[in-house]
């Protein structure tokens, strides 16, 4: 069974009416994944014996028995979790991430773990120990990353929704590349307990789905305070579906010129068209400036890499994961396990981070980046004092070809310029499909102030209703 034209509601109807049983749905889902993944390689682990929870009541719980995909950097008790790295390729967790416990409690059916860039470092899902994932719109193109497996699985109709993680755009960029919706909630909205850390002050788990409403449904389940994560907010979580179907009249929309200037031609036109849709519906459009935009890339790469260099030190071959063979002494175990276990991009970031934190560099790089981060946050505060949302393109270009950009890290890093600010500022941000550019999807990014996912959903839902992008089928999935 494929989900190209399904939603949580449509599946629930089928389950409730008895048209299909939850067991059969799980089986069909796995069968379809196994079939279509020959094209996509979106999964690292598929649970062939995936079973729905017990005591399902489809009338009371519409999420009951709905299959869902999990990015492979979220730990699942008893299901291999690798972060797409050789160094963890045999790692079997003995506990569940908080989001997993919550999904299980809500009776979702977990069908497996999706491909990603190793340790979520990358924006193409080419940096995976398990091979590259392919874009369902064009199999020669990347699905983006790092949550490229989750994005391709959703866009390719393998599941209706998937969890991803976003440290610098890792949900929004692949969502944009695959023509789906993806939201990175406010930092502190979703527990990071059980998320394999990359940049701890930036990482956030979020949701990807074809339809905006399905992400709202899943976020309702996974959001909320957790004693295991002391950076979590204790604020009450609203029902995000209540922001859907609303009027956008009077919505104050900021459009930063730095973001619009980052793209041109057809892409700029397409984004402008979405803004015009809002304007026509009565939204107030304000052109604004985010003056520190040119500094976000270095700021982000120093902070994210510094945190990563420390977070990834635990992969040392001692307690779990890959341990190199033929080691003579302890230093050998460390150096060989890590050098053989990590891929090039991960090593590059560890090196950059260790450098930025090392004696003599700390003040100049880490501390200065932390200060510039403050200025970047202040840019946003100023705009949100007078606006409800910030709009712009999610990426500087649509999906690129597999193998095209890997060799030039600077170019790759600069591509993240539009998404990483939201992580630095901890604000919620989403990408919703704007349309096609030369046959490939292109995304509109929507940001709001901290804990105001409501306005993100409201705006995204309006765009979805207006451009009806969901009616399109990914061209790469046609036989």
């Amino acid at each position: 069974m494929n989900y190209l034209n399904e939603t949580i509601d449509s599946l629930n109807k089928k389950l409730a009416s008895g048209e299909i049983t939850a067991d059969q749905l799980a089986k069909d889902t796995v069968a379809n994944i196994k079939d279509t993944d020959k094209k996509l390689n979106a999964w690292i682990t598929v649970d062939e014996d995936a079973k729905p929870a017990e005591n399902l009541d489809f009338a009371k719980n519409k999420l009951a028995g709905i299959p869902i995909a999990i990015k492979d950097n979220i730990v699942t008790n008893g299901m291999k979790t690798t972060a797409a790295s050789h160094i963890l390729d045999n790692f079997m967790p003995m506990y569940d991430a908080t989001v997993i416990s919550k999904l299980k409690k809500a009776q979702f059916t977990l069908v497996g773990k999706t491909n990603m860039d190793e340790f979520a470092m990358g924006s193409s899902t080419e940096h995976s120990y398990f091979g590259a994932t392919h874009n369902p719109w064009n199999l020669d193109k990347v699905p983006g990353g790092s949550s490229g497996g989750s994005a391709a699985a959703v866009a390719g109709g393998q599941v209706v929704a998937a969890l991803g993680s976003d440290t610098g755009g890792s949900i929004r960029q692949p969502a944009a590349f695959n023509g789906i919706f993806g939201i990175k909630p406010t930092y502190g909205r979703v527990s990071r307990w059980g998320l394999i850390a990359f940049g701890s002050s930036l990482d956030q788990i979020g949701v990807m789905s074809k339809r905006v409403k399905d992400s709202a449904e899943v976020l309702n389940v996974i959001a909320g305070s957790d004693d295991h994560d002391s950076t979590m907010s204790t604020r009450e979580v609203p029902d995000f579906t209540k922001f859907l179907g609303q009027d956008v009249k009077g919505l104050r929309v900021a459009v930063p010129k730095e973001y619009m200037d980052a793209v041109d031609g057809k892409m700029r036109e397409l984004i402008q068209k979405q803004i015009d849709l809002l304007k026509d519906a009565g939204a107030i459009i304000n052109e604004v400036s985010l003056p520190h935009t040119k500094y976000v890339v270095p700021t982000y790469y120093i902070i994210a890499s510094s945190e990563a260099s420390s977070n990834l030190q635990r992969y040392d071959g001692i307690r779990y994961g890959y341990r190199a063979k033929d080691t003579k002494n302890l230093l050998d175990v460390y150096v060989k396990s890590r050098s053989e276990g990590f891929g090039t991009e991960v090593k590059r970031r560890i090196m950059l981070g260790s450098f930025a934190l090392s004696a003599g560099s700390y003040d100049k790089f880490f501390r200065q980046a932390a200060k510039v981060r403050t200025l970047i946050c202040q840019d946003f505060d100023k705009i949100f004092a007078e606006n409800d949302v910030i709009l712009g393109p999610t990426t500087t270009e649509p999906a690129f070809g597999i193998g095209e950009e890997v060799s030039d890290p600077i170019k790759m890093y600069n591509n993240d310029i539009l998404t990483i600010s939201a992580n630095l500022a901890g604000i919620p941000a989403a990408s919703v499909p704007a349309g096609l550019v030369d046959g490939m999807p292109f995304g509109l990014q929507i940001m709001a102030k901290r804990f105001d996912e409501g306005n993100v959903f409201k705006t995204a839902d309006f765009i979805e209703r207006s451009n009806k992008f969901y009616e399109k089928t990914p061209t790469g999935m046609e036989d």
Partner: protein, 476 residues
């Protein structure tokens, strides 16, 4: 040439909590390897630290007891280094914004009082334990991983080994009496690192530092520092220079041995721990903790000597441990005469503990027992001799002294209507003693007391008997 020494001390205390600093794993000793651990202690992928409130509470107690300034906002930091007993390959500590700064303690050395500064103190996690095998392998046990530590860093204010020794003694006593730590060097709940440099008198800038880690006792601290002073002087006098290095104290030879030379500072890549939000320490909380803070050993000494009238020696013996001082205080609070309680504590109780190699916590004697027993002595119910028997029973089996005395019929005979006829009879029966008494031979009365004791099988109250005999003899 004259030299001046500059000594600084870094002291780690294990804080007495039930669970670890960043995980709820129990803190226990002697458990099987890796049984007191969980996913956090193992640094499994995806775990996050959860801060134990009690660690702050105990740390604040020590800060208060050493007059340190508690920072209103603290933050944890990561200290990065690889080692098998350090599972995250970083230690969570407080580097940039520690718990407290600028404390001090006062010591008395060579008859002079001196204030020694505390630069800062911070809370952090302990590492696991490695056991080195002889077969080319080491074995890692993570039970100790995450046990809370308080590190107290002194100012380099000490100028000779005696001052360092006095500082350690005083610091240990202060920390011990807060109840925050067991402060036992032999069990590792107190650990001392030292650093020392020397410079020619008159020279302003400090000499090159030598560090010594994991010293086993205060005596080793003193001896190793004294050795280093001499060694460094000889190096300088022979035209050499002291190397920035870590040395180890060799107990057998009394010398220090070079462990490794340091080239520049270690590169621990400290940065703020992003997984833990800042901690605001409110004045209200500090005030609350100050109220709970047990009385300091110095205030207790004052009470013992000036309020209770104990001899300074006895007061000091009681104050050797918080346990004995607490026990004594509780006995006094339960109504015991302070002087008698102190005597019993410092002789019988300590004697028992030493003979049996146990601590107060291990015996069944309670402060209430001790107070009850002292009351029985004081009101004449039992004699001191009987009391020793009662004590032996109570400390061994926890038997209530009053009940024991009653059950065993040990109550002292003080009844005049019984004793008076006995006294009259014994004097009648021993005219020779009357004669001796009249001739001023005191020994005579002793003999007569012995006769009465024999007849009453030791139960007669010797004081009463003495009094009656004196009266009776004088009347003859």
């Amino acid at each position: 040439m004259n030299f001046k020494s500059t000594i600084g001390l870094e002291v780690h205390f294990e804080l007495k909590t039930k669970s670890k600093i960043f995980s709820p794993s129990p803190v226990t000793y002697g458990a099987k390897p890796n049984t007191e651990t969980n996913v956090i202690d193992w640094a499994m992928p995806g775990v996050l630290p959860m801060v134990n409130k009690n660690v702050y509470r105990l740390g604040i107690m020590v800060a208060l007891a050493t007059h340190a300034h508690i920072l209103p906002t603290t933050h944890f930091d990561r200290k990065n280094y690889f080692y098998p007993d350090n599972p995250k390959a970083y230690q969570i500590t407080q580097f940039f914004q520690p718990l407290a700064r600028d404390g001090y303690i006062e010591v008395e050395v060579h008859g002079k009082k001196k204030r020694i500064g505390i630069h800062e103190m911070h809370i952090e996690e302990d590492a696991g334990k490695n056991t080195h095998g002889t077969n080319g392998f080491s074995y890692v046990d993570l039970n100790r991983q995450g046990v809370p530590l308080l590190e107290v860093v002194s100012e380099p204010d000490m100028e000779d080994p005696e001052e360092a020794y006095a500082y350690l003694e005083k610091l240990r006593k202060i920390v011990q009496f807060t109840g925050a730590s067991d402060v036992k060097m032999e069990e590792g709940s107190m650990r001392v690192d030292t650093n020392i440099s020397i410079r020619p008198a008159g020279q302003k800038e400090l000499g090159t530092k030598v560090e010594m880690k994991n010293l086993n006792s205060f005596d080793h601290v003193r001896r190793s520092l004294a050795y280093e002073e001499k060694r460094q002087q000889q190096v300088l006098l022979s035209g050499g220079h002291v190397q920035l290095s870590t040395r180890r104290f060799d107990e057998a030879t009394g010398k220090t041995v070079l462990e490794r030379v340091k080239e520049g500072a270690s590169d621990y890549r400290y940065f703020p721990e992003p997984d833990i939000a800042p901690d605001h320490i409110s004045q209200e909380w500090i005030d609350e903790i100050a109220k709970e803070l047990p009385k300091s050993p110095f205030d207790r000494y004052d009470d013992y000597v000036n309020k209770f009238g104990l001899k300074p020696y006895d007061a000091n013996v009681l104050l050797q441990t918080k346990e004995s001082s607490d026990f004594f205080d509780a006995a006094v609070a339960a109504g015991a005469d302070p002087t008698m309680a102190a005597n019993w504590m410092n002789t019988q109780v300590n004697g028992y503990l030493n003979d049996n190699r146990v601590s107060l916590a291990d015996v069944k004697l309670t402060p209430e027992h001790l107070a009850a027993m002292i009351k029985l002595i004081k009101d004449g119910t039992i004699s001191s001799k009987i009391a020793k028997k009662v004590f032996a029973e109570t400390i061994a089996n926890g038997t209530d002294p009053k009940k024991y005395v009653e059950d065993k019929g040990m109550v002292q005979l003080s009844d005049l209507s019984v004793l008076e006829p006995m006294v009259t009879k014994v004097v009648d029966d021993n005219p020779q003693s009357v004669e001796d008494f009249k001739n001023g031979k005191d020994r005579a009365i002793g003999y007569l007391v012995g006769q009465i004791m024999k007849q009453t099988r030791g139960k007669a109250n010797p004081k009463v008997v003495n009094k009656l005999l004196n009266k009776e003899l004088a009347s003859r």
